[in-house]
């Protein structure tokens, strides 16, 4: 069976900056969670916006059920928007402060003609119940709700059109841990009940390990590594994944791994280094990495990595050592 959503060689440019540079991945049919992980500026949100046609694209394809999403117009695009919805990080900016919760959700139902007018109020109530909110919230304004409750409203609004896939862009980053835990549990429940597929965009590796079967790691607009989440986190094939993994704080002392420091600041897409984009911060970069862009290649079952030394990283090479001697560091 083909994937529900396929992103092929996606390119997004802002002026001369290639914010997303040749990103490819597949989102299988639901119930399924795919994580898109990266730090600020990695291009993860830009990918999410391009998929739902909220941002510009300069090249590549997005296929939904075989249809070319980037060419859709008019009724075709409207139909696609019913199939794929997005939930943003900050519900304060995505909910109209002057609109009551009920009106916000009802607007979607009417705009897309989901139910007959006289059934709208009833459907709004059902949707609020579905995200575990009191239907009485229908008559409240966003500011009368907590951040977690507002995010539930945003999710209810996305569910209103009966989507097959969701793009969740950092849905819990603005919430504190207890609210986050409840939203994550709810996403898991909804995904099974509605057979939803979702692309979960986050910087939090712990969140993808709980909610996503597979994960794509982005670095500076390119895929660094992709594969089944737990294998990828247990045995990263890319030094960046390994460093990212080691930086995640853990409550339990025995779960902590010794941190692999990355030198330098996260780079900017405005000045992309030659060769491997990660080489200026990579603890095991060799000359080849400074010259030759590594292809995203298969490194194991279901796994791909864009690293010349992926096999050594998978084999457990020590990244806390300065530039390794295995490949020599001689002049090119």
């Amino acid at each position: 069976m083909t994937a529900l959503l396929e992103v092929r060689d996606l390119l997004v440019r802002f002026g001369p900056v290639r914010a997303v540079d040749g990103v490819s991945f597949e989102l299988p049919r639901g119930p399924y969670g795919l994580g898109l992980v990266g730090e600020s500026g990695s291009g993860k949100s830009t990918v999410g916006r391009a998929i739902v046609r909220l941002g510009p694209t300069a090249g590549g394809d997005v296929l939904f059920d075989g249809d070319d999403v980037l060419q859709l117009r008019g009724p075709g695009l409207k139909k696609y928007r019913r199939a794929v919805q997005i939930v943003f990080q900050d519900p304060d900016n995505s909910l109209d402060p002057r609109m009551k919760i009920g009106t916000t959700i009802a607007e979607v139902l009417t705009a897309h003609g989901i139910v007959a007018r006289r059934q709208v109020a009833g459907r709004v109530r059902e949707l609020l119940q579905e995200v575990a909110l009191d239907p009485a919230f229908s008559s409240r304004f966003p500011h009368q709700l907590s951040g977690g409750q507002r995010q539930r409203v945003a999710i209810a609004r996305a569910l209103a059109v009966g989507p097959r896939a969701l793009v969740l862009d950092e849905p819990t980053s603005a919430l504190d841990v207890t609210a986050q835990a409840r939203i994550l549990a709810m996403i898991q429940r909804l995904r099974d009940e509605h057979e939803l597929a979702y692309l979960l965009i986050t910087h939090n590796l712990a969140v993808v390990s709980e909610l996503c079967e597979a994960t794509v790691v982005l670095y500076l607009g390119k895929v660094a590594e992709s594969g089944p989440t737990r294998e990828l986190l247990a045995h990263p094939a890319h030094p960046y994944t390994k460093a990212l993994r080691s930086a995640v704080p853990e409550v339990k002392a025995d779960a902590r791994t010794s941190r692999i420091p990355l030198t330098g600041e996260p780079p900017s897409a405005a000045s992309v280094p030659p060769g491997c984009v990660f080489h200026p911060r990579c603890p095991i970069a060799v000359d080849r990495c400074r010259r030759e862009i590594p292809a995203l290649r298969i490194v194991g079952p279901g796994r791909k990595a864009a690293c010349h030394r992926a096999e050594e990283v998978l084999g457990g090479i020590d990244l806390r050592q300065p530039a390794a001697t295995a490949h020599g560091g001689g002049p090119a």
Binding site: E39, S40, G147, D176, V177, T178, A179, Q180, A181, L184, H203, N204, L205, A206, V207, S209, E210, R230, E231, L233, A234, H235, A243, L244, R245, A247, V248, P249, E250, V251, K252, A253, A255, R256, R259, P261, L262, E265, P266
Partner: protein, 261 residues
């Protein structure tokens, strides 16, 4: 005697108490974590320590002793000699803590001149040294805040605290807005301040995982009260309070079950 001793602190808006803190201490060369959800009173507590609670309309009763001196009730003029110079603070959003129209160097130097550097020459020297100890190049001083990343600005905040030679650093969610790899660097800097400069640090965060990794002792706050406090290993390992357990259970952890090692 601890460096900072808070006792029977009560902060009210009108008649409504938002913080009722029986006891919280921070010693020299120690990092104490104050953890809790939004609205639990963590940040109000720091405002009271700095004598700033009145600026947001709150009334403060009780005792905040710093290095033996009672801070509650001190006139602002006297407080200004302590705040900034001996007690420094870094905030969650470094971009908001820097005035965008001044170069970072001007902000840095005027802080030093305001708080005791003898001359511009001495201030420049102290700034340069402090920047090196947070692994930043001194030429960053010529840039505007918007030209620096969040991680760089947060390190500059720490450098200012260092250059002021503060005794106590209050850090309010200093890494919550940063990427996880940058967060790691900032946490390491804070450890270095504790170990090398013997600075006492009050670390405010809602992220128990960060608190657990960094702090020597933890106080868990809920609705203005400390529900549990103690050495980190004890609070994390054998939480006594139901709320602490709930908070710990909510922290997402990387799950690797079912993967062969």
């Amino acid at each position: 005697m601890s460096l900072l001793e808070i006792s029977d602190l009560r902060i009210c808006f009108g008649t409504r108490p938002v913080v009722e803190l029986e006891r919280l201490e921070v010693d020299r060369a120690e990092i104490v974590g104050l953890a809790g959800e939004s609205g639990s009173g963590k940040s109000m507590t720091t405002m009271a320590v700095l004598g700033l609670a009145a600026t947001v309309g709150a009334r403060v009763e009780g005792s905040v002793r710093f290095d033996g001196q009672e801070l509650i009730g001190l006139p602002q003029r006297v407080l200004q000699g302590i705040r900034g110079r001996r007690i420094a603070m870094i905030f969650q959003s470094p971009a908001m803590a820097f005035n965008p129209v001044f170069r970072v160097g001007q902000i840095f130097l005027s802080a030093l001149e305001l708080h005791g550097a003898a001359s511009r020459g001495e201030a420049t020297e102290r700034a340069t040294t402090a920047l090196r100890s947070v692994y930043l190049a001194p030429d960053l001083l010529d840039r505007y805040p918007s030209q620096l990343s969040g991680g760089q600005l947060q390190r500059i905040s720490i450098a200012i605290a260092l250059a002021l030679r503060c005794d106590l650093l209050i850090a309010d969610e200093p890494t919550s807005a940063l990427d996880v790899t940058v967060q790691g660097d900032v946490l390491e800097l804070l450890r270095a301040l504790r170990d090398d400069k013997k600075i006492g640090i009050l670390f405010i965060s809602h992220d128990l995982a960060v608190v657990a990794e960094l702090c020597d002792r933890i106080a868990i706050m809920r609705k203005g009260r400390v529900v549990e406090a103690g050495p980190t290993d004890r609070v994390i390992g054998q939480p006594q309070d139901a709320y602490t357990r709930e908070l710990l259970a909510a922290v997402p952890a990387i799950k690797l079950a079912g993967v062969s090692s």
